[in-house]
Amino acid sequence: MLKALRLAVLALVLAAAGWETAVAPPSLHFPRDHGAHPAFRTEWWYMTGQLGDSGSRRYGFQLTFFRQGLDPSAPEPGQSALRAHQVLAAHLAIGELGSGRMHFAERRRRIGGGLAGAADDDLDLFLEDWTMRRTQEGTVVIAASDRGTATALRLELAPAKPLVLHGEGGFSPKGPAPGNASVYVSWTRLDARGVLALGGSTAQVQGQVWFDHEWGTSQLGPDIAGWDWFGLRLADGRELMLYRLRREDGSAASESAGTLVERDGSSRHLSSADLVLEAKTWWTSPRTGARYPATFHVTLPLAGLDLEVRPQIPDSEIDGRGSTGTVYWEGPVGVAGSSTGEGYAELTGYVASMAGRF
């Protein structure tokens, strides 16, 4: 019925009143902080990575859980437990690198009522039968399937490096005002093995995966239209995360930043002054007409990196209007230049401005 809510749920133009905001480096405790932070308005858990089967087939995938708070107040007596104080949405996208086909499915449910939940003491998310859970052994198991697109994915992921706290101890400022910030942590490299089903055939797959966990309330500054984000795993054992916050006029905001993770797992915060990010080619979506940058030139002199980042599936536009209300580009990328590698890129705000949304 209600397309009404498609656009609206994660796109709520809400006053931040009643929500907690990230204003200073938090004191993080794991595994507790792998769990949900319902006092903050938005939160997401992203898994992106490249997988290969025993043959030559290569895949890119994304499984993301989004949590959106609608009402920060505690339930009142007599109130229904089904009140949608918190909503969980999830995106599953599997791309075939050979054919360039992208398969996308989405889910959405309120937290409560037993069909969706997000634990607040560890990584334990479920949205209907889609799950993302940390096990006793410290691995993470993710599972999601969709009958409409005939896709299914089940992976066990083992962190190959320690957790990275971006910014200052996980505190990641994204705008000029206090509270224009998020808490942002990542496992930049997880070893994955599992099963991937696509169009009726099932394959054992393995590969490497990136995990992001980020939460905040009014994290973006008021004039930010969108962002271009990259999580790259370089062949030399390093990882590079960087994002460019774009203003409405297309210029990069000074809060654009990144993190360089060394082979030993130590990390270094990168400010916008440390890097140059330049779009080289463009791709226009035949469905939305949005014009996305495709190939990027990334220069990071302090690390001696001069990279070309190229999409492995040009049409990786994700239409999440049935769940999060957003349309964005999220797909696997290859890295060439001074170092090679692979990773994922996320380009938002090209269809509609994200201003005021996060």
Partner: protein, 851 residues
């Protein structure tokens, strides 16, 4: 040419008769079309409503008293195969509309995958609207309703839920893609808000399952059953629609049967009109025959008249039926709303087939009614028609044969009346009524004959007057014509008497029942819609306020819920037995004092059951009944069986505390207050309403008001029936009038002879008037006897079979006597005009014509 002579000319000359006949047919057709259209509209909109509202949901998880919301979580393993959707579907009153609306509580976050309702652009763009709907008290309205109420997004919308005044916020409107009428009276809110509004926090009415691609219903059903408790049902939405239709069907049948009676009255009218017109025009017809017109031509012209009457009457009837259907729908809607939780649409759409059928039935009935007169007209040799009918030529009807046929009909009627209901419908009993009318029609001619012959001697001597003797002789002579007339009078009287007897028996029984049973001083119930639809229950808060004001021991809240006897839905009710045991009030079938019965029921944790339940399930006092209720089964001994005319589904009443152990307190359907003696009920009502302080939409009725309302509801329900009674009486008078004119035509020569032999004008007029009175009296007497018999069948068989109600057989003697007298008087008056015509007749001319 013939057509103009035989059809147009009489019509133009006597437009009143033609018009009356047409109206008679129209009335019959209208009654049938109205009831069929109204009940079909109600049933169809229910079925359509269930299917449309179910959307893509293929399976529904339900239980008699709803489901705990935890079951949603139990279905988690199913979520890969199906979208799992919680639903609350309730009714509420929209005071601004004065009508009931359906409130659909759904999970607005997933419902896109279930239902096709397109919200407007403003809602699409607004995050505020979404917030209002999901965490506020936002409601979505159908666009047409929003326009009608002139509300816009952001406006408050007042609604009465369980009689409590609630204010929602209009979050937006939606435009249904199809079946706009289904959604016309539907408000959409989020499931959580629905739970809160209807006091169903933690509970759901049903869970819908929308299979994902490649999943079969059977597989989903099997998987769901494995996950759910055994007392929960997993079935297709249309099963719910079918159950609703089944409940409405009995009602539909009774209405249709009743309207069939009016059609029958119409048919009798057509037959009488045509028969008399044949008789009247017999001279002209004979002339035409002797001048060379063929039988076929004569037949064609008569048939044309019948078809014209039928078609005109049919067309008028169909048009009138549509208007009538609107009125009928109101009563059907209330019944439907009471039986199933739905609000049928208010639109009447006349299906083409029904319009065609109405026309066809009109024509068919007319043609059928024309067959006998037609045979008569065609068979009569021209010469007989030309010389006028004389007793000597008359083919004497075989009395023995007639008596035998009448006896066969009578035996058939008795057998049919004793036959059991057919599929819970009183088909045989209604056929028995038809057979009784058959007895009347067959018997009337020999009776008249007998009367004429038998009375000719002693009666005429006793009456010492020429007029009566002549009248009797004339009747005997023209008895075939006369028997038509008396038969028509008889059938009309019989129908009027039967209907009158049924209504009177029913009304008196119900009034006595109300007087004995309704002992409380004040009744409080949710405000009803202006359409009469009772909406929902009373908020439990109302009970608490009343308890605070008057004390717990004078209050009898009456709760109802649906339970199942086997697979049949019945009403399970909870009343405060302790209060009723003190104050009494209900009439029990075995005549015991209600206080003793309730005290015993309270002491033994027993139930009392309504008579319809007892007759439906063959239950007697002392038996133990078992029902499927919300939390399993409930077995109770039956302490007493009470008369119950408020319910035909069957009702089981247990103590309220017992009831609330099985069903959650959703609030009672009504609340009865037994005030201590000396307390002024009106003042107490004012106190109560003041204490409720405008927070609730309730009606509080005093004892006499409620009883008056019972009678008013009764009279409203039987308004159509009473109108039929009037039509029947009118038909009787009309029949006499036309028959007398015909007889007069035949007896012209005899009357002229009487005048020529010295009879006065007064004497001649007296002959004709006496004829009329005799005819009327015979018809009235026969009709009275047969009418009482039919009334007996209606009261004692049809009612019991269709409703399970025992009614006393109470013919309205005074009004029956008045009816008989009135019909005879009407016949006399009707005879006046022909009598005057006879008196004015010039004897010489009349004799010469014959010459």
């Amino acid at each position: 040419m013939l057509l103009r002579t035989f059809f147009l000319r009489p019509v133009l000359r006597r437009p009143l008769r033609f018009v009356t006949t047409v109206i008679g047919v129209a009335a019959g057709i209208a009654a049938v079309v109205a009831t069929v259209a109204a009940s079909r509209a109600a049933v169809a909109s229910l079925r359509e409503g269930v299917n449309e509202v179910a959307g893509r949901a293929r399976l529904e998880v339900t239980a008699p008293a709803g489901l705990p919301e935890e079951l949603l979580g139990r279905l988690l393993p199913l979520t890969g195969d199906a979208v799992v959707v919680p639903v609350i579907e309730e009714i509420a009153l929209l005071p601004a509309l004065g009508d009931a609306v359906r409130v659909l509580g759904v999970d607005l976050l997933v419902d896109t995958q279930v239902r096709d309702v397109e919200p407007d652009a403003a809602v699409l763009a607004s995050g505020r609207a979404a917030n209002m709907l999901l965490v506020g008290s936002g409601v979505l309205l159908p666009q047409r309703l929003a326009e009608r109420l002139a509300v816009r997004p952001g406006d408050p919308l007042e609604i009465s839920i369980r009689a409590r005044r609630r204010t929602l916020t209009v979050a937006g409107t939606f435009a249904p893609r199809r079946f706009a009428s289904v959604w016309d009276r539907v408000l959409i809110v989020d499931i959580a808000l629905a739970q809160e509004l209807f006091g169903k926090v933690g509970r759901l009415d049903r869970i819908e399952l929308v299979p994902r691609p490649g999943i079969t219903e059977a597989r989903l059903t099997a998987a769901a059953r494995l996950l759910l408790p055994v007392d929960v049902t997993v079935e297709q939405p249309r099963a719910r629609a079918a159950a609703a239709s089944r409940m409405v069907r009995a009602l539909q049948f009774n209405l249709t049967a009743l309207s069939g009676v009016s059609l029958f009255v119409g048919a009798v009218l057509v037959a009488t009109t045509l028969a008399t017109s044949v008789v009247q025009r017999r001279g002209v017809l004979a002339l035409a025959r002797s001048l060379g017109a063929s039988r076929r031509q004569i037949a064609r012209s008569l048939l044309t008249e019948a078809v014209a009457i039928g078609a005109l009457g049919g067309a008028l009837g169909v048009a009138g039926g549509v208007l009538g259907a609107r009125a009928a729908l109101t009563s059907v809607r209330s019944t439907v709303a009471a039986v199933v939780r739905g609000v049928p649409a208010t639109d009447i759409r006349l299906p083409l087939w029904l319009a065609a059928l109405g026309l066809l039935v009109g024509v068919g009935v007319s043609v059928l009614a024309a067959i006998l007169p037609l045979a008569e007209a065609v068979r009569t040799p021209p010469v007989q028609g030309l010389v006028g009918e004389r007793p000597a030529f008359l083919h004497r009807p075989s009395r023995r044969r007639a008596a035998a046929v009448a006896a066969v009909f009578a035996v058939l009627a008795v057998a049919l009346a004793r036959a059991p209901a057919w599929d819970e419908l009183p088909v045989a009993a209604l056929l028995a009524s038809m057979a009784l009318l058959g007895v009347l029609l067959v018997a009337v001619s020999p009776i008249l004959d007998l009367l004429a012959r038998g009375a000719a001697g002693p009666l005429a001597r006793a009456a010492e007057g020429t007029p009566i003797r002549l009248a009797i002789a004339a009747l005997a002579a023209g008895r075939r014509r006369a028997s038509w007339g008396a038969g028509a009078v008889g059938v009309a009287v019989a129908l009027a008497v039967a209907i009158g007897t049924m209504v009177h028996s029913f009304r008196t029984t119900v009034i006595d029942w109300a007087n004995q049973g309704m002992r409380a001083d004040i009744w409080i119930r949710p405000l009803a819609a202006t359409t009469g639809v009772q909406v929902g229950r009373l908020d439990p808060e109302v009970v608490r306020v009343a308890e605070r004001l008057f004390g717990k021991d004078v209050i009898d809240p009456f709760h109802t819920a649906t339970a199942y006897a086997g697979t049949q839905p019945v009403t399970l009710a909870g009343g405060e037995f302790a209060v009723v045991a003190r104050r009494g009030g209900v009439t029990f079938r075995d005549g015991r004092d209600s206080r003793a019965v309730f005290a015993a029921a309270l002491a033994h944790r027993a139930a009392v059951v309504g008579e319809p339940f007892a007759s439906r399930f063959g239950v007697c006092e002392g038996d133990t009944i078992t029902l499927h209720v919300a939390d399993g089964t409930l077995s109770r001994k039956v302490e007493g069986i009470f008369y119950d005319y408020s319910n035909q589904q069957g009702m089981v009443v247990i103590d309220r505390n017992d009831f609330l152990r099985h069903y959650p307190d959703d609030g009672p359907r009504e609340l009865a207050l037994f005030l201590p003696s000396g307390v002024d009920p009106a003042a107490a009502r004012d106190r109560l309403l003041a204490a409720l302080g405008g927070r609730f939409f309730v009606e509080a009725l005093l004892n006499r008001e409620l009883r008056a309302e019972v009678v008013a509801i009764f009279d409203r329900t039987f308004a159509i029936t009473r109108a039929l009674q009037a039509v029947a009486a009118a038909v009787a008078v009309l029949a006499v009038l036309t028959v007398l004119f015909a007889l007069l035509g035949e007896r012209r020569r005899d009357l002229a002879l009487v005048r020529a032999l010295g009879g006065t004008r007064l004497q001649v007029a007296g002959v004709v008037a006496a004829q009329a009175a005799l005819l009327g009296a015979t018809g009235a007497a026969g009709g009275l006897v047969v009418g009482l018999a039919i009334g007996f069948v209606l009261v004692k068989v049809v009612n019991v079979q269709s409703f399970g109600w025992t009614l006393r057989f109470l013919p309205p003697w005074p009004s029956l006597a008045v009816t008989g007298a009135l019909v005879t008087l009407a016949c006399l008056l009707a005879g006046l005009a022909p009598a005057l015509a006879a008196a004015r007749m010039h004897p010489a001319e009349a004799l010469r014509e014959e010459g």
